[in-house]
Symmetry: C2
Subunit: 183 residues, 2 copies
């Protein structure tokens, strides 16, 4: 059964948000942008999704003001995709989905990945692991993503084949541009 | 292009969460459950989606341990759907999507609904409006949904036709069973 992209009958801010970020793969593209992925080929390698779908998602996110296209090379022309302030404001959505996906949120540990966390997110200023709402339990403040340090957790594949996954093994600040070992 | 429901290539807790709640309408079914909707016909009226889709979503959420079916009447048999602890743990996801959908999160006010909030969520204990992370700015604590009061905002249609929307005009605690004016 075909279901439209909009939720015309729903007068609701959640429905409005889902009209922009509710399509398949969209939030994973945004997640990658938080991890520092900016280039089309890096998204492609890391997400492993069809080119047409990636192109459509990037275009939709740009239209919605979540990503911004920036030219980083002129000949031949090459663009990268960077989160806008509106995109950065999606961090609490990703954080809460991630906590729920690991089963931390209800204490069941019923994430499909088992108990071992894949990545650990800390408040860079003090090293404390973030709470379920993305707050720092030690400092008692919501932590903006630029102040979040991402570290590999024990559940992560320690020897991935693709260069994006390899680069993401190193501890890094969110939003910092990813440097892959390109040839 | 057909895209599978799973994100097999993604070793990621966000992807795991989206495999359960990422399908169209699923999070709006969960939202309604937070508002106190429990009965099939109330979901149907409020969501306005095809019966087959609603039935599939309710079944998937039950299988995933997000909703629990409870028999409230034996002859004829009638069930209602209630959030489990695992389902209640989705509150930060809905809260953060809602804040982002209104444009509060980045201060742009770029929600498709304009600047007028549809609903206002407060900490029942002190009456303070919740912050972007679902915390109470006055008390400095994350507020569990059972302690959240939902009030109609100035953007909400004040005279809706269906009984579920009418019932949701009254201030109410989240998770309390909805009493509609059934005949």
């Amino acid at each position: 059964m075909a279901l439209g992209k909009d939720y015309a009958t729903q007068q609701c801010s959640i429905a409005r948000a889902l009209e922009i970020v509710g399509e398949r793969w969209t939030l994973l593209v945004v997640r990658d942008a938080f991890y520092g992925v900016r280039r089309y080929n890096d998204f492609l390698v890391h997400l492993g999704l069809p080119r047409a779908v990636l192109a459509a998602r990037l275009q939709a996110l740009e239209r919605a003001g979540v990503l911004e296209k920036r030219r980083y090379q002129h000949s031949p022309p090459r663009d990268e995709y960077v989160l806008t302030d509106r995109g950065i404001a999606l961090w609490p959505v990703l954080r809460s989905l991630s906590v729920w996906g690991t089963g931390q949120a209800d204490g069941t540990g019923r994430g499909a990945d088992g108990a071992k966390p894949l990545r650990v997110f800390t408040h860079a200023a003090c090293g404390t692991e973030l709470g379920a709402y993305g707050e720092c339990p030690a400092c008692g403040v919501p932590v903006p993503p630029a102040d979040v340090e991402m570290l590999p957790g024990p559940g992560l594949d320690p020897d991935p084949r693709d260069p994006v996954r390899r680069a993401l093994l190193r501890p890094r600040r969110l939003l910092q541009p990813l440097e892959t070992d390109r040839v």
